[in-house]
């Protein structure tokens, strides 16, 4: 018999390193040990031997063999107990053990497996085949080790990546998942299967429906998805951000088998992204948007302004003598000052958003375009994304200069700085970001040349116009406070009895130095600045007082019509203004007529109707001014609880020459009468117009043909003369 040729175990090392494997052979039969040793060494194994179970356990601990051959029946501790003990050792769980039993001893074989034997061999041992048996066991062991290592690596990798996986079987609403999935989703770690609601237990309420929807739809429609959601995690004070991905799997016939998915905690990742974004777009010292961010906002403001055709302004400012603060108090103090300045700027811009300037325009979308940015050093930019006029920017600039000039307390030291502001306006001063920035900067240097602590527009024309309006605003304010405004009254006459049916109160302003200023010029300023509120209240009150005086003087009572600004309606002051005027004057409310423009009802008809109802409750009459110029839908009209329509003078003007206007006026009168409303035409200037209106059964007329607006004392005289018999044709040609 020739020497057997074993495959050399040394060369079969799976990890590429030269390695020999150690066999622990346990047998009380020394001859067996000797012969097995020969065979195993020939095959490349190293052998360590023991002659009883106790020695075997000790040798296992000392040598950590890769394989064990264990005789069953031995003195001291038999093979079965030795196996049981080795299996309980920390490293002994997976070591392959070959049990040697008697051929006839079936019971021993069963017992051997029970105790943890890997395989068995019956006596007498065939020492030639033994090494093959061992090599087979070794290969199985190495494969198992590799699998365990790979599984363990995968688990570790998934744990490190906070990546869990899950699976959903076809035709089942049950899910299975990994332990890491449980950890990521804040579920009990030991539970790794369940229904969809178990999975989503910790997903925040606002996201849960969305996640469920995706999972169920992916299942029904057999498609993949990738979503992110937030989760309340037991181990975290803040919400975690989770990304869930799923893939639909199909068998070789293309039939959908299951969904396989992952979940990953990407909170740190998204936080980092946010942080990167903040670093790139915000100033570290003040937290304000930085230069890059400003340019983006400026770009958006440009697009919006071009589309909506409105103006916007760029305010470029720096702090005068900031360097001195920095040098004398240190950089930390300088930073502190910059922070305080930035919060004052932010506050002003926020307040600017809150000021509603024009009731016809919604500023909701535009107001977000206002922003404050720090360019670096002591330079700031305020972007007013939407302005009505250049002087809006001037107003903000003045408030900024005023607020920045207030004292600061820094390290118990009181510091005062001032600011100089340059302003550029789109589109007058430039059509692109760079030009607008450059011009605002240039304007600031001009302002500095003129002396610090002030503002300057880039364009001289805009600057002067803004200052002029500014001046008007200030003077108007003074005029209202001093009650140096005056009222004029224009009579209205009724066709049916040829009597004076009422007067319309009109406000006039005679400026100290500039002379009379048209209401068309100062009313818009009053509305934009809010001065219309005290002005409107004063007009209402003064008109009622004057009316009551005429009644007291014995004139036949007629009504006084007072115009009401949309701003008074919007701010909700009108009801109180009326109430106040009635109670101060003692006028019977039936002699007060409130004139409203129909534009008021375009925005919110229901709110408008509500105000009208409340006016009616006070007992006053309500008329719609400028009728025919605003909304086209007549269906509004029947819903409005009003008494009278006033036909706009633009229709009356061409009544004699334009058949279209005549048709409109005729139609309005017929319509109004059918709705139970009376009609007045304003702007009547000729006998011809008067005759036509009379023919259309118009109820009242007002205009230069009857009378110009008159001062109260002139009107008293006019009323007196009119009341004298035989003198009527001089005044009115009915």
């Amino acid at each position: 018999m020739g020497e057997p040729v074993y495959i050399n175990t040394e060369a079969r090392s799976p990890d590429g390193f030269q390695k020999t494997y150690l066999v622990l052979h346990v047998d009380d039969d020394v001859a067996s040990l000797i012969m097995a040793e020969g065979a195993l060494e020939a095959a490349g194994f190293e052998v360590v031997q023991a002659q009883n179970g106790a020695e075997a356990v000790q040798k296992y601990i000392d040598y950590a063999p890769d394989l064990i051959i264990m005789d069953a029946v031995m003195p001291v501790i038999d093979g079965f107990d030795a196996i049981a003990r080795i299996r309980q050792l920390p490293t002994g769980e997976h070591v392959p053990i070959l049990m040697i039993t008697g051929l006839d001893d079936l019971e021993s074989i069963t017992r051997a497996y029970d105790k943890g034997a890997t395989d068995f061999l019956t006596k007498p041992i065939n020492f030639f085949t033994l090494p093959y048996r061992m090599q087979y066991m070794l290969r199985a062991k190495l494969t198992a080790d590799e699998l365990r290592a790979s599984q363990s690596k995968l688990d570790s990798a998934q744990r490190i990546a906070r990546l869990g996986h899950w699976e959903n079987e076809r035709a089942s609403d049950c899910f299975t998942w990994s332990r890491e999935f449980s950890r990521v989703m804040s579920l009990p770690v030991l539970i790794t299967c369940g229904k969809i609601n178990d999975i989503l237990a910790k997903v925040i309420d606002s996201d849960r429906g969305m996640v469920r929807e995706h999972m169920l739809r992916a299942f029904e429609e057999q498609r993949s998805f990738n979503i992110e959601f937030n989760l309340e995690h037991a181990d975290s004070d803040t919400l975690r951000t989770i990304r869930m991905e799923a893939e639909a799997h199909f068998d070789e016939l293309g039939v959908f088998t299951n969904l396989l998915g992952t979940v990953q905690d990407i909170t740190e990742h998204t936080d980092a992204q946010k942080q990167i974004h903040n670093l790139a777009y915000y100033d570290l010292v003040t937290g304000l948007p930085n230069r890059a961010n400003l340019y983006e906002r400026l770009g958006q403001a440009l697009k919006l302004a071009q589309r909506a055709k409105h103006e916007f302004a760029l305010l470029f400012l720096d702090l005068d003598h900031f360097k001195q603060v920095n040098d004398s108090l240190g950089h930390d103090a300088g930073d502190d000052l910059l922070q305080q300045v930035s919060s004052r700027l932010t506050e002003i811009v926020r307040d600017t958003d809150a000021v509603a300037r024009n009731v016809d325009e919604s500023h909701d979308e535009l107001s977000e375009q206002h922003s404050v940015a720090r360019l670096g050093g002591d330079e700031f930019v305020v972007l007013l994304g939407s302005i009505n006029r250049a002087d809006d920017a001037a107003r903000v600039a003045e408030r900024i200069a005023c607020a920045i000039g207030e004292p600061y307390t820094i390290n118990d030291t009181v510091v005062t700085v001032t600011t100089t502001i340059g302003i550029s306006v789109f589109p007058a001063d430039g059509n692109d970001s760079a030009t607008l920035m450059k011009h605002a900067d240039v304007a600031m240097y001009h302002a500095k040349e003129k002396g610090r602590n002030g503002f300057q527009f880039y364009s001289r024309k805009i600057h002067q116009a803004a200052l002029a309006r500014f001046a008007i605003e200030a003077d108007l304010k003074k005029a209202i406070e001093n009650e140096s405004l005056t009222l004029m009254f224009q009579p209205k006459v009724c066709f049916s009895d040829n009597k004076v049916s009422g007067v319309e109160a009109l406000v006039r302003w005679n400026h100290e130095t500039s002379g009379p200023i048209s209401p068309a010029d100062f009313i818009p300023i009053a509305e934009e600045t809010g001065l219309i509120l005290p002005l409107g209240r004063w007009v209402m009150e003064a008109s009622c007082i004057k009316m009551q005086r005429w009644i007291d003087q014995g004139y036949e009572p007629f009504s006084v019509a007072v115009n009401c600004s949309p701003v008074q309606i919007e701010r909700g002051t009108i009801i109180d203004d009326i109430d106040n005027a009635i109670s101060v004057s003692g006028l019977d409310p039936k002699w007060l007529e409130v004139e409203l423009t129909e534009r008021l009802f375009l925005k919110d008809i229901d709110a408008g109707i509500d105000i009208l109802r409340r006016m009616k409750t006070l007992g006053v009459k309500v008329s719609i001014d400028d009728f025919g110029t605003g909304f086209s839908s007549l269906s509004y009209l029947k819903r409005l609880p009003v008494d009278k329509l006033k036909i706009d003078q633009s229709f009356v003007r061409d009544l004699e020459v334009d058949p279209g206007d005549a048709a409109i006026v005729s139609a309005i009168i017929t319509l109004a009468h059918n709705l139970g409303l009376s009609v007045i035409a304003e702007g009547v200037e000729t006998q011809g117009q008067l005759d036509i209106l009379k023919g259309y059964r118009c109820d009242e007329v007002q205009g230069y043909f009857i009378s110009y607006p008159q001062r109260p004392e002139d009107l008293s005289k006019w009323l007196f003369e009119r009341s004298q018999p035989g003198d009527q044709k001089k005044v009115i040609g009915f």
């Binding site: 018999m1 020394v30 067996s32 020969g38 020939a42 020492f127 030639f128």
Partner: protein, 119 residues
């Protein structure tokens, strides 16, 4: 007496011999000659003392070590004795040990003869 010595088994032990190592067959047979008389004595003493555990241990060991050398008849006899001892059958044990010594001597002689031939 047919000692039933399996020569193939003895030859295959030689085949396990590795170069530059002590002679395997010599070691095994020497071991057999030194250990097996103790086993035989243990079995015989056990029967005399009616100690079944003693009989069982001795016969079990002798069964294994004789099988290792191809002494199949001796091994089979030991197996029978072990089984009888395990089942508390002292009478069978007494019967089976009648020729045990003679069979053992014949086996030892057979092995020595094989070794001489092999040498």
């Amino acid at each position: 007496m047919n000692i039933n010595l399996d020569v193939n088994t003895l030859q295959s032990i030689s085949a396990l011999q590795r170069p530059n190592k002590p002679d395997l067959l010599e070691r095994v047979t020497a071991l057999f000659e030194s250990e097996s008389p103790k086993c035989v004595a243990q079995v015989l003493d056990g029967v005399a003392a009616k100690d079944l555990e003693m009989i069982r241990t001795g016969s079990h060991t002798l069964k294994s070590i004789s099988a290792n050398l191809g002494a199949m008849a001796l091994s089979a006899r030991c197996s029978d004795i072990e089984h009888a001892a395990r089942t508390d059958d002292l009478a069978t044990c007494e019967e089976l040990i009648q020729d045990l010594n003679a069979e053992f001597e014949a086996t030892v002689a057979g092995i020595r003869q094989f070794l001489q031939h092999a040498a």
